[in-house]
Symmetry: C2
Subunit: 363 residues, 2 copies
């Protein structure tokens, strides 16, 4: 088992990574301090892992809640249903909420944990690659609003994260690729050597070669943990983790959430951010090409739907929640392994990238 | 103007107390950093003070939201309406939410501020005595759920609190008395000398004598700020502020929220907690009588509705959210000015206090 520590003062916690963690009763009980446990999971995950997890808490009162699958469940109505069930079953402030599933389950459950009786114990057990390397690390919780994604939420850290790499065996290929988008992003923004190893090991990663996958999850968690530790509430450097996300969110928003997987939109967003960075002279065309190639090799799209117009993109990016009073901001690439927040992007260059989007599909 | 500082590390802020603060544009703008402001207020307060407050932010974009009056508005539906309006008007993370009103407005607006885009700037302008000495100080925000009061919320500190004592001129007498219940509570739990001065100045307080009122608000804010500074998240000493509230919440819950004002229930709750403390030999009968007399002199009820049975009370207190895995807890009085959290209360003595409730109405 590997352990990555997220150092956040009194909010510090450990991310445990390894095969078979869902069978490790002693470990799973370490951070459960009260008499009761409440597990939230999804319809696709429940038949695979819920019984095993319930068994691990045989000494506690265990209640469970199963949400339908999909991003559309990440809303205030799911939030209210979970809160209602917690109250009906009389869970008090000493209870522990456990999220067993992907990013939607983690985000909704985390937001309930942050606000139920002003905050209760929370444990993350992410079962998708995307949630293992990204959404379960760093304490961002939220639900969507009809007028925008992640519009209500809280920064709320779990007591522990348990990543059982065996759960990836049941993950659909398309979702595995989606998770690899965030892995590639970590290399591009923080560690050029890691980026090279991802290029080299892509075949091993896509076939779930255990050592390669465990090493990759650990390194991605380390990178994310290190950035979050410097800036828990995203007032500065944490914004770098949005590399590829301004373009990506626009694609998700314009296509309707769920049409593209989040990682698919981020993968294409990375390619577009690389293209814009190269047009602005920050990286070479050859580096932009390397980024596009590794995104393609992960089984991800490299070009947005051609049905979306340039003006659609620009309008959509203006309502992106990262918009501050400074106007639209981009994370751009200065070198493979180095990214930067830029607030004064030349709109003409942005339009060039958007006009050239068709060419991004080419090899 | 008087200033009480709440020392909470990076969450520290100042509580400003004085006459005419709503006309002090410079002061009101000190903590507004972004380009926009969003004021939430209630139907009864809007015609009195909203135009004046809007004028103070003439340099900013100002949007407003007016909720109907009453505890019944403190729910997730109000929460969603405010969030929807913030999104419709495109308020971003740099906006400042301002609560102008009593406890309901402060609690709902604070909860929106805590969670809108994972947290935005928040300023409290409490206009009732209850919210000035209690709910606006300390960062507790919440809304009610059909199954329980304050069941979802967050600890979220404002950037500043502005208490304009002139607003008490328009406060109905019954609400003034309700606020005095929390003032009396502060004396009983933390400062015997303050309790004596409240006894002596009750007539001056009820007639809004300016110096007496300003001094009282300052001392109550100091006591609450000092306790909150020791225990922001209520894991220990902050629970002492619940003196009178276990009985009080039971009355509010059993009568239906809104039938009794919160301070009325707390006033009676203080008398009942004093009675229980005296039956347990912690204070003298004469001290319990002093507490009952000052509650009565504030214009508050000293005895719960006789329609409520002993079993109603016991059942209701068991679902109080302060219930932890340790079972029901009470804050009891050891001396006027000293309170204590007690977890092993003899249920027979509790039943004696409940059976004797009729006698609490007597002089």
């Amino acid at each position: 088992m590997e352990i990555v520590n997220l150092n956040l003062g009194e909010h510090s916690y450990a991310i445990h990574i390894g095969a078979g963690l869902l069978s490790d009763e002693r470990l799973l009980n370490q951070e459960v301090t009260g008499a009761s446990v409440f597990i939230v999971t999804s319809e696709s995950i429940a038949p695979l892992y819920l019984a095993k997890l319930q068994a691990a808490f045989r000494e506690h009162r265990v209640d469970t809640f199963v949400l339908p699958d999909g991003e559309s469940q990440k809303n205030l109505s799911s939030y209210e249903s979970i809160v209602g069930e917690l109250l009906t079953k009389r869970h008090n402030r000493a209870t522990t909420l456990i999220a067993l599933g992907g990013g939607v389950i983690g985000d909704v459950t985390g937001y309930v944990a942050a606000t139920y009786q002003r905050g209760v114990n929370f444990i993350q057990i992410p079962t998708t690659l995307l949630s293992q390397v990204d959404s379960s690390v760093g304490g961002k919780t939220a639900v969507n609003h009809p007028l925008g994604k992640n519009m209500v939420g809280a920064f709320y850290q779990p007591k522990a994260v348990y990543i059982d790499t065996d759960t990836l065996q049941t993950l659909p290929d398309r979702e595995l690729s989606s998770g690899l988008a965030e892995v590639i992003k970590h290399g591009v923004l923080a560690d050029g050597e890691y980026f090279s190893s991802i290029e080299q090991e892509m075949t091993a990663l896509r076939s779930l070669q255990p050592e390669s996958m465990a090493r990759t999850i650990r390194r991605s968690c380390e990178i994310k943990a290190s950035i979050v530790a410097q800036d828990e509430k995203e007032t500065g450097v944490r914004a770098l983790l949005n590399l590829g996300h301004t373009f990506g969110h626009a694609i998700e928003h314009l296509m309707g959430y769920g049409a593209w997987l989040h990682g698919e939109a981020v993968g294409t967003g990375l390619v577009m951010a690389a293209d814009l960075s190269s047009r602005l002279g920050r990286i070479t065309q050859s580096d932009a090409k390397r980024i596009k190639n590794v995104v393609a090799s992960a089984g991800l799209p490299t070009c947005p739907p051609l049905t979306l117009s340039v003006d659609d993109f620009i309008e959509s990016m203006q309502v992106d929640k990262k918009t501050t009073d400074d106007g639209l901001r981009f994370i751009l690439i200065n070198d493979i392994g180095v990214a930067d927040l830029v607030t004064d992007v030349d709109e003409a260059k942005l339009r060039e990238t958007l006009l050239a989007r068709e060419s991004l599909a080419e090899n």
